[in-house]
């Protein structure tokens, strides 16, 4: 039935019913308050209590119940509950109780006489704690600041600890031995001492309040993933509320909060990828890195979407921590949230960075945001903006705000910080007519501010424009960022010839990747060689370790750290011909030879440069090869020694 499905989807994602963030949190808090049982339905007595507390006349309550679909169903499911709450809010603000009023922007429904929710939740723990089972959680990421508050929960913890003597992190749904294994098995190249981290976690966790436990108590019987997401929301909501209640209240056991040692760990990992903590990790590097976590790609994709708040295709340090943290949480069984939990937002991240008192972190902070003197949230946002704004155009901010006004809701965009971020970060010139700008900005690598009106100027200094695209002017300026982006063009044209043949049949797409990958490989090498910052050779040192373990592509991915990532992708897109959607050759394919006579000399120059780059690439590769050979030798040595030992141990070998 339509209302049902609609309402169901309203509940499920909150997208149709368009709950904004505080509403979502509040509602999920109330939802957990009502002690849902296994099937996700809410106890009607609790709901009735809640409704009575709203102080509405009983007939309107009946109407609400009827409208939200609970009457028809006979129970209050999550979507019904949310719709009901919205209707209550409408009724309280004087609007007629009707489904249309649900869409209006309403204040939160008021409930009188309702006990303070956190307390309710806490008090609800003991009876249901025994029903926890595998649902017990002690979040991997949370900070305990006030042990005093936790005294009441210690006995609970003790109970829980007895029941599940896990080493942290714990998983709400997975078996005990698995989660530590997963965590330990996280194959990072720079190994942090696994034991240390475990022990550190243990100590942290033991003193940690199991606030989440209580939160889980009511949702403890949820079986479904959708409910688990409400769980995350409930957690977020409770943490939010706690934040509102007290000052910066770190006593919340939010799994989405990053502890200090986690932060340190992330910092170390960040450094392995990118020594400068103020700089960005490019997308490919991050991709390779996070792929090692063995999470499925769609989830990683989702994590990326959540954590890359400025949408630049690269991760700043706080974004990296966020992503890392989400991955860790996911590996421990937490479902991914639909939107970024408030504690993981970069603004909050930086707040946390201020607080840790290790000098290392302090220096990190200083490097990150020199202006981050105070710890006010506004300043956070500002400094966030600054850090990002350094790289972004400011003029588009007005356009952006206009645009935001026009688009009231992005369902998953957190409201407070992201609009700011969005105002700065994605300077899309909507109000202007140049859609090229849109494309351009999309293609740009993280740092350079977008070039506003430099579109379609054939007089652009880079010949590559002419080379790779004999008539797609709009993309030209987008290629500006690195002069070293030159190399692949000739390759592109060569490749385009090759691929042109098989371009017709989509089936040949499959075959092409082989060819494509190789040329991509070559190209990547070139681009890495040509990169301007932090000479690729220095990177090769640590990268060879990776290469020893990982595939070659990984190493090349690492090489990418210098080369801007977007041009790179664009470069090898031409090779993955039919598979990509990025500018290069749409038109030149049919007529690759047409402009040749025009640009012959320039092409020659390009080719020569390409040759040079190829030579450099060769040099790099030979070095790589030699290093690998050395490693091979070492391995051989070991093998020989082992064999000899074996011989010794075998007293009378029956040869």
């Amino acid at each position: 039935m339509d209302p049902e499905s609609g309402v169901a989807s309203a509940g499920a994602g909150g997208s149709f019913i368009s709950l904004n963030e505080p509403e979502q949190r509040y509602y999920s808090g109330l939802h957990s308050l009502c002690q849902a049982d296994a099937s996700g339905t809410l106890s009607s007595s609790k709901v009735a209590e809640l409704f009575k507390a709203s102080q509405l006349p009983p007939e309107s309550l009946h109407k609400v119940t009827e409208l939200c679909g609970a009457k028809r169903l006979g129970y209050f499911g999550t979507p019904q509950f949310f719709v009901a709450l919205k209707l209550l809010a409408a009724a309280q603000s004087g609007l007629p109780i009707h489904l249309e009023s649900v869409t209006a922007n309403l204040p939160l429904p008021r409930f009188v006489g309702l006990k303070n929710e956190p307390e309710m939740r806490y008090s609800a723990v003991p009876p249901s704690i025994d029903g926890q089972g595998a649902q017990c959680v002690s979040a991997p990421g949370s900070v305990c600041r006030t042990p005093a508050d936790r005294s009441t929960f210690r006995h609970l913890e003790a109970k829980v600890e007895k029941k599940e003597p896990w080493s942290p992190p714990r998983s709400p749904s997975s078996s005990p031995p698995r989660s530590p294994l997963i965590y330990r098995g996280y194959p990072y190249t720079k190994k942090r001492n696994g034991a240390d981290s475990q022990i550190a976690y243990e100590s942290k966790h033991s003193s940690r309040p199991i606030v989440l436990l209580e939160q889980h108590s009511s949702p403890s019987n949820y079986g479904t993933k959708a409910n688990a997401e409400h769980l995350a929301m409930a957690r977020a909501s409770s943490s939010e509320r706690l934040d509102q209640q007290g000052a910066v209240d770190y006593s919340d056991d939010d799994p989405w909060r990053i502890t200090e040692e986690q932060l340190e760990y992330y910092t170390n990992q960040f450094k392995t990828l990118q020594p400068d903590l103020g700089a960005l990790i490019l997308g490919t590097i991050a991709k390779n890195f996070f792929t090692k976590s063995k999470l499925p790609i769609p989830e990683l994709s989702h994590i990326w979407e959540l954590s890359d708040v400025d949408r630049d295709g690269a991760l700043t340090f706080p974004e990296f921590c966020t992503a890392f943290h989400l991955i860790v949480a996911r590996k421990n069984g937490y479902p991914l949230p639909e939107s970024l939990p408030p504690t993981l937002r970069p603004g909050v991240m930086q707040q946390e960075e201020d607080i840790p008192d290790t000098p290392e972190d302090r220096s990190i902070i200083e490097r990150l945001q020199p202006s981050l003197a105070t710890t006010k949230q506004d300043l956070k946002e500002e400094s966030c903006k600054q850090a990002v704004g350094m790289k972004r155009m400011t003029t588009s901010q007005e356009k952006r705000t206009l645009q935001l006004g026009a688009f009231p809701e992005r369902p998953e965009a957190p409201q407070d910080l992201d609009p700011h971020m969005r105002t700065k970060t994605r300077p899309r010139s909507h109000s202007s007519t140049s859609f090229e700008d849109v494309m351009k900005k999309a293609e740009e690598p993280p740092t350079p501010p977008p070039r506003p009106q430099k579109t379609h100027s054939r007089a652009s200094s880079l010949d590559l424009n002419k080379l790779f695209q004999q008539g797609a002017p709009g993309i030209k300026s987008g290629w500006f960022p690195p002069p070293p982006a030159l190399p692949p063009r000739p390759l592109t044209s060569q490749v385009s010839h090759f691929i042109n043949v098989s371009e017709k049949t989509p089936q040949n797409k499959v075959q092409q990747p082989n060819f494509a990958d190789f040329s991509r490989f070559r190209e990547e090498e070139e681009s890495s060689v040509k990169s301007e910052e932090q000479g690729p050779r220095s990177r090769f040192g640590p990268s060879t370790e990776d290469l020893a373990n990982a595939s070659k592509q990984d190493g090349i991915g690492v090489c990418h750290s210098q080369a801007p990532q977007k041009p790179l992708r664009r470069k090898y897109h031409p090779e993955n011909q039919n598979l990509e959607t990025v500018p290069p050759p749409a038109m030149p394919f049919p007529t690759p030879t047409k402009p040749a006579h025009k640009l012959l000399s320039k092409q020659k120059r390009e080719i020569q440069m390409a040759i040079r780059k190829n030579k450099e690439t060769n040099a790099v590769l030979t070095r790589l090869n030699s290093e690998l050979q050395q490693q091979l030798k070492v391995v051989h040595q070991e093998r020989v020694t082992l064999e000899s030992q074996l011989e010794l141990l075998r007293p009378l070998a029956p040869t």
């Binding site: 990326w304 494309m439 709009g474 992708r569 959607t581 990025v582």
Partner: protein, 142 residues
Amino acid sequence: MAVCIAVIAKENYPLYIRSVPTQNELKFHYTVHTSLDVVEEKISAVGKSLGDQRELYLGLLYPTEDYKVYGYVTNSKVKFVIVVDSSNTSLRDNEIRSMFRKLHNSFTDVMCNPFHNPGDTIQSKAFDGIVSGMMVQTASYT
């Protein structure tokens, strides 16, 4: 409010199609497919002046008795097609443009995601959210 939104790759295979589920989706798939011809025609028509900025918004591709089809093409030849119900109080051109702009933005967001391989179908939840926001809303409430 769109009835069907589709994203088609350069090679004319769909990266993403979403229709209002109540109606026959196959019909929309056909519609989008046929609209591709019109898109090609429009692209090639403008292509005569190389170096000139080609308008990304293609406008109304063609109307039928039931609905209207609007097109938009990016510089990388990725096509967005929106099918709108004719009975709908006809949306202003501006609104359609803004819908395409939104689509384009979220599309670039998807592309920026390093875990997304260009050429794969779009599986981003954010993108889904945007598209859902643009689809006909009444189905959810009635």
